[in-house]
């Protein structure tokens, strides 16, 4: 079609064991915002990486403005007018905005930088698209929303006509998200095309002209915005009616296990991330913390699990203050923690699964004897049991952790933390980057922990996960809990609205 900026035809990409993209066809018209929705692992990221030049498709063709092309790498992609705004910014924090934009394309006289000449062009682009950023500011001094604009300017500067946004609102405040959508409008008004990857259905309906749903590597449907509802999209994404009916046995009210009082926590970057936060979790209860990333959730969990950087307030476990307790003591007293980044915090990658399954309890019987020797037999036996119980796919308990798939690594972490029989489980993004099968399994395990009387603090960027599992949901915004919902009252739209900072009643 003459109007098509971009056409992907029958793109197929396979990795060992999985077909990430299966004969995918997709097109983008000039002047449209085209949303690409799908679950984790559906194949969106792979498709975009192909477009961006990081992967080569096994078969299929790519056309830009009618011409068939091969994309050999990111430089090639941008040369063809395809620009990507990544979820995790690719910026140089100590450099200025101007420097960040021009690196790789610097204007120079015989090697000496002459980038002031490019300043005018950048300012023109900013004016034209309504994207304003202080050009001489250092990127590390800018708020996240402005940093994202620098990313956009980078690709506009290089002549991008096809702009891909990968989960751009994950790190933005509500106002910043609105600014972003306004920017989309400005960009498309100039004939550019935007591919908007998200799984936030509200945003899709707010801003998309067309919507394409991808599931398990295949395109399910491409449709115009008119007449589409969220349940429709959700059902296409998952393949069945979405409401997750989780078995929710009614439990007697338990004792308060975790109490957070007026907590103040400093973030490593220097500002106060948790600002007078209070909440409590009872035994046999799952308390879900909902909120846009960057509102203090990570720091909250970190403060309960490890405790560095606490500036004020208190954290009580079964009535006792944990503030002076070492990490070891917190674990001894029954706190378990599924970390948000399993590779960075949760596993010693070169060590065996068996050893990894003892982390946190490695100094206690049966894994360590009274004489401080390691009881290898106990370690292996316990590991074999856990591997079977949790269905962790590994050739043996001696396999090093770095050989396992992401889903199995996460299962191992979850298995380990639950096997410690904690009284409080801190679960931070427990199913991030995990395939559907493992996700379901982990959800079942968390519910099981609940029926066993454990208290669970669940932090997740996946609102559907929170809605399905939590007995109560607390919305965190700017370091405080601004509203709580009981399970029956928790409706997607209202919770989502709260996440943007809207307080329903004046008392919150």
């Amino acid at each position: 079609m003459a109007d098509n900026l971009l056409e992907l035809r029958e793109i197929t990409k396979q990795f060992p064991g999985v077909t990430a993209n299966d004969h995918v066809s997709f097109d983008l018209r000039a002047g449209e915002v085209h949303a690409l929705v799908g679950e984790n692992g559906a194949g969106k990221t792979t498709l975009m990486k192909i477009l961006y030049g990081l992967y080569r498709p096994d078969s299929g063709s790519i056309n830009v403005e009618g011409t068939g092309i091969t994309i050999r790498g990111p430089r090639d992609a941008i040369g063809r007018g395809i620009g990507m705004v990544h979820q995790h910014f690719m910026l140089f924090p100590p450099f200025t905005v101007l420097e960040n934009i021009v690196i790789g394309e610097e204007a120079h006289r015989a090697g000496v930088l002459a980038v002031n000449a490019q300043r005018a062009r950048i300012e023109a682009i900013m004016q034209e698209n309504g994207i304003m950023v202080p050009v001489d500011a250092r990127v590390e001094d800018l708020p996240v929303g402005l940093q994202q604009r620098v990313e956009i300017l980078k690709i506009l500067f290089r002549g991008a006509r096809i702009l891909i946004f990968d989960e751009p609102t994950a790190v933005l405040t509500p106002q910043e998200s609105n600014e972003l959508f306004r920017t989309f409008r400005a960009l498309t008004a100039h004939g550019k095309g935007i591919i908007f990857i998200t799984h936030k259905l509200d945003e899709v309906l707010a801003v998309a002209d067309r919507i394409t749903v991808i599931r398990q590597g295949r395109i399910v449907r491409t449709m115009d915005r008119a007449g589409v509802t969220k349940p429709m999209i959700a059902e296409l994404m998952v393949g069945k009616p979405v409401l997750l009916e989780v078995d929710r046995p009614l439990l007697p009210a338990g004792r308060t296990v975790l109490e957070v009082r007026n907590l103040k926590v400093r973030s490593p970057r220097g500002f106060t991330a948790v600002n007078g936060l209070s909440l409590s979790v009872k035994a046999g209860e799952i308390y879900g913390v909902a909120g846009v990333e960057g509102n203090g959730q990570s720091e909250l969990v970190h403060a309960i699990a490890e405790g560095a950087e606490v500036e004020g307030g208190d954290i009580l476990l079964e009535g006792a203050s944990v503030r002076r307790w070492s990490v070891r003591k917190r674990r001894e007293k029954g706190i378990a923690h599924i970390p948000e980044d399993r590779l960075k915090y949760g596993l010693l990658l070169p060590f065996s699964i068996a050893t990894n399954l003892t982390l946190g309890r490695h100094d206690k019987p049966p894994f360590a004897t009274r004489f401080q020797t390691v009881n290898n037999r106990a370690v292996r036996e316990s590991a074999r049991q856990i591997i079977t119980q949790f269905d962790i796919r590994t050739p043996s308990e001696n396999t090093p952790a770095n050989a396992l798939s992401g889903g199995n690594q996460q299962k191992a972490v979850v298995a380990r933390e639950l096997s410690a029989q904690p009284s409080l489980l801190l679960a931070s993004q427990p199913t991030r980057g995990v395939d559907i099968g493992a996700t379901e399994f982990i959800h079942r395990q968390i519910m099981k922990a609940r029926s066993e009387g454990k208290a669970v603090l669940l932090v997740s960027a996946d609102l559907d996960e929170l809605l399905a599992l939590s007995d109560r949901i607390g919305v965190i915004f700017k370091g405080r809990i601004i509203r709580e919902f009981a399970h029956e009252q928790a409706v997607r739209e209202e919770v989502g609205l709260s996440m943007t900072g809207e307080k329903a009643d004046a008392t919150a």
Binding site: M90, L91, P93, G104, E105, H108, V112, L113, K154
Partner: protein, 291 residues
């Protein structure tokens, strides 16, 4: 204190600081590109030897200098290949090269001059200016050039970007590998000059005496900035000069005075208030396409 003494002190201090300062400049370039180079010490040991050999063999100290710079580049090339291409830990590689350098310099000395621990005397020296090795004065333009290259050229900007965020630099089309190699090889070349400013008339084992490591302390103290690193080096150098000139008049036993530059380095490092910021990817290996 009279003027001639002051001039002598300033000049001597410059001479003594210059090996540390040139090595520190090299350290800055390497680390700004993201490669930690603790082999400065060992490389200096070898370049000083090859300077002497080159000067004697070709009967010109300037050719000796060329040989020294060339040797520095070669030695640092080993570090570059091992860390950038084979992705070995930077400190491990640096230590290995230091060990290799000790052995290599002894071997070369024995092969060139017949004795393992000291070379023949080299009669071809750099011209003297104000009573000191005039090569030391090259430091002043060297700092200016280094700062200019690092902050005002395309090359410098890209080099720094690679040290900050190699992934981002890669996607923008900067050749991460080439920039890292460049940083390391520049540090090698500067080590060549550093070796030449040490002493040019004879090579003895252990003559570098830790200056390469003090240079690293100067890089940290100078916050990875060329001017800062050189100023820090001058601090160490002048402190040492002070010690040398007044040694006989200080009532402390000689060995304690000898300790002074090293103790100073430790004190300086310990006293740095707050963590100064190394380039974000300094010391970490980057693998393309790592997901």
């Amino acid at each position: 204190m009279d003027i001639s003494f002051l001039v002598y002190f300033l000049a001597k201090g410059l001479e003594i600081s210059s090996p540390i300062a040139f090595a520190a400049l090299g350290g800055v370039f390497s680390e700004r590109a993201g490669v930690v180079n603790i082999a400065l010490e060992g490389i200096m040991g070898v370049t000083t030897l090859t300077l002497v050999w080159g000067a004697i063999t070709f009967q010109s100290v300037w050719i000796g200098l060329v040989v020294a710079v060339f040797t520095g580049i070669l030695m640092s090339l080993i570090h570059a290949v091992v860390t950038i291409t084979f992705k070995v830990d930077h400190v491990v590689s640096g230590v290995a090269i230091n060990v290799f350098s000790i052995g290599l310099s002894r071997f070369l000395c024995q092969s060139f001059f017949g004795a393992e621990t000291q070379s023949k005397i080299n009669p071809y020296l750099f011209p003297k200016l104000l009573g000191i090795n005039s090569l030391a004065f090259w430091l002043i333009p060297a700092v200016a050039i280094a700062a200019f290259v690092l902050y005002k050229t395309v090359f410098g900007l890209r080099l720094r970007s690679v040290g900050e965020n190699p992934e981002a630099a890669d996607t923008l089309g900067v050749n991460v590998t080439a920039m890292r190699y460049a940083g390391v090889l520049i540090s090698g070349a500067l080590c060549g000059i550093a070796g030449a400013t040490l002493f040019a008339d004879k090579w003895i084992t252990n003559m570098v005496a830790g200056r390469g490591f003090i240079a690293l302390a100067a890089v940290i103290f100078g916050r990875w900035d060329p001017t800062g690193a050189v100023l820090a080096s001058l601090l160490f150098g002048y402190a040492d000069t002070f010690r040398i000139i007044f040694e006989s008049r200080i009532p402390i036993p000689g060995q304690f005075v000898q300790m002074f530059p090293y103790v100073l380095a430790v004190v300086v490092l310990a006293g740095i208030v707050g963590r100064s910021r190394a380039p974000a990817w300094d010391g970490r290996n980057y693998e393309k396409g790592e997901d």
